[in-house]
Symmetry: C2
Subunit: 328 residues, 2 copies
């Protein structure tokens, strides 16, 4: 926020021209001052999708400087300008991480798992957010991974290497598994980003090869939750359609990264997209559909509570966030 | 949300044309199903404004049919279309109510008080929201009322008529007090809306005449909180500038009602505006300034957490909501 002087605000405020001589406020109370709370509200949010109860459970957020090459096909100045126009701190980008829990009535399903412990102080909060929401990790029946990037999989394990959701079946997209767990690919993709991701995948999955279920696009992965092909961002990314009665919610994972940049500009190639042209085509296919159908969408990197509608705007889309309902 | 058939979503999802024969998901777990929580997250949200801690504390929200004459100078069809385009339920409008608590370090200040008990099941939630936020009503030092409409004042008293914030000084705009507490005006304004408001004011304030402090625009009403003239919506409405260090937050009260209608269309005359032309001029004056200064604004009827920026768009403004920060 730019500095707004009180003088200017007051000067502009009164048609008659307000007196600017402000007397200091007298503090005469004998009450003790209330301490600052210093703690954010628990960042979960519930909605109904048909008979299902959907809880967005924040893993946190972080602000990071925008690196060179962050958008491969756009000059950095243009990226910085778009970020700043969207009220990001100058030169930086605010990126949130939003897993989702779906209670279908018969199954408790977690979609993606956040960063887990140890990555940073403002992320890896999923376990504490779930605790605030009254969701027991042991009660999770199925974890569905949309794609195998670190911010979606690392939360599968606790700091000591034990399973964070010990009773859950773990489902990963077959085409992502084939790509990320292939040692030839590990040798081939030596750029810093992919190298780190390959390491994360081995850290999490090396001892889970017999436990993990690989799923295909076009199939139900849990009752009422169907995977749809959303490849491009990764070789096997799937979006997930949550359907109950006539209601639908689309978990679009990383089809678009932060909406201020990539939903507004679907043809921008974020550095994390494995096949940028395919990722952009997927983005347009999914969000053309979302806009046409007025489909409720949750984006992993949308601002919490990360629920909204895609509206066509210019050559891209604008996110219309849902209005927070204080009661469910 | 319109009905989106799974067939269409899947058909649109796969470039190769996905197989549509979905087999029912086998539910073979022996675990008991987790019960639905059925309860929303506590709807409070904290931010820092300089050294101050600001907590938006929702009083709730409600959905109501849009009545004839809701916008005095615009055909009803146009209003209905704007509401529906903003994803309101067809024919209705979603209206939230967002009081704010400011902890200045020396004073705990509540800005407006919500509906109190008895108006409806989804409003009057301020006390429970405050409890969730760990804010003791007895610790409130000052209540500042922006204007004397029922949804801003009724929460001053509990259901039994006792004071909800028993240790607080209560401050009301002098020009609103003069208008609403004047019995000649009560006799004169017999239309349903104003009649009800006059009744609310007497219910709350009749036995508080000697307790209430009347404040003027242009003066500090609490340490670092300055009233500015925002009349038009009511004869004496004030907006409140919360200032600490170089940071500012503008509590714009009802300068604009729900932003999808009245921030986008500042010249629309909502039926609650006492002097519609003046209210519209105030709206433009305040939001021109907010847009030029990139000033953080909280609107009483903005969607929770009700914090955002005003951006010029077309002949009006667009609300850019702040990105929710999961940590303070």
């Amino acid at each position: 926020m730019t500095a707004l002087t009180r003088r200017r605000l007051l000067a502009g405020a009164s048609a008659a021209g307000a007196a600017l001589a402000l007397t200091p406020f007298a503090t005469t109370s004998s009450q003790a001052a209330a301490p600052l709370a210093g703690k954010q509200a628990p960042s979960f949010y519930r909605s109904k999708v048909g008979d299902f109860e959907v809880t967005v459970v924040s893993d946190g957020a972080r602000v990071a400087p925008i690196p060179d090459g962050y958008v491969r096909n756009v000059p950095k100045e243009q990226v910085l300008a778009a970020a700043e126009a969207a009220f990001n701190p100058k030169g930086s980008l605010f990126a949130p991480f939003n897993p989702v829990v779906v209670n279908t009535g018969s199954k408790l399903v977690l979609l993606d798992t956040g960063f887990g412990a140890g990555i940073g102080p403002t992320v890896g909060l999923l376990q504490s957010t779930m605790a605030a929401a009254g969701i027991d990790p042991k009660a999770i029946d199925i974890v569905v991974i949309s794609h195998m990037h670190g911010d979606h999989i690392l939360g599968l394990k606790n700091a000591d290497g034990s399973l964070a959701f010990p009773n859950a079946e773990i489902k990963v997209p077959a085409n992502d598994w084939a790509f990320w767990m292939n040692d030839d690919n590990m040798a081939k993709y030596q750029d810093p980003f992919n190298k780190v991701q390959m390491g994360f995948n081995r850290k999490i999955f090396s001892d889970l090869k017999d436990k993990v279920t690989r799923y295909e696009a076009g199939k139900e992965v849990a009752p009422g939750i169907t995977a749809i092909d959303a490849s491009g961002h990764t070789p096997g990314q799937c979006a997930l359609v949550i359907a109950s009665g006539s209601s639908r919610l689309l978990f679009q994972a990383d089809v678009t990264n932060v909406p201020d940049l990539f939903l507004r500009n679907p043809d921008w190639h974020v550095m994390f997209d494995h096949e940028p042209e395919k990722a952009a085509a997927t983005r347009r296919r999914i969000h053309d559909m979302a806009a046409a159908e007025k489909l409720l969408v949750t984006g992993y990197h949308y601002p919490f509570p990360s629920l909204g509608y895609s509206e066509k705007a210019g050559s891209g889309y604008r996110l219309i966030p849902v209005a927070w309902s204080p009661v469910i």
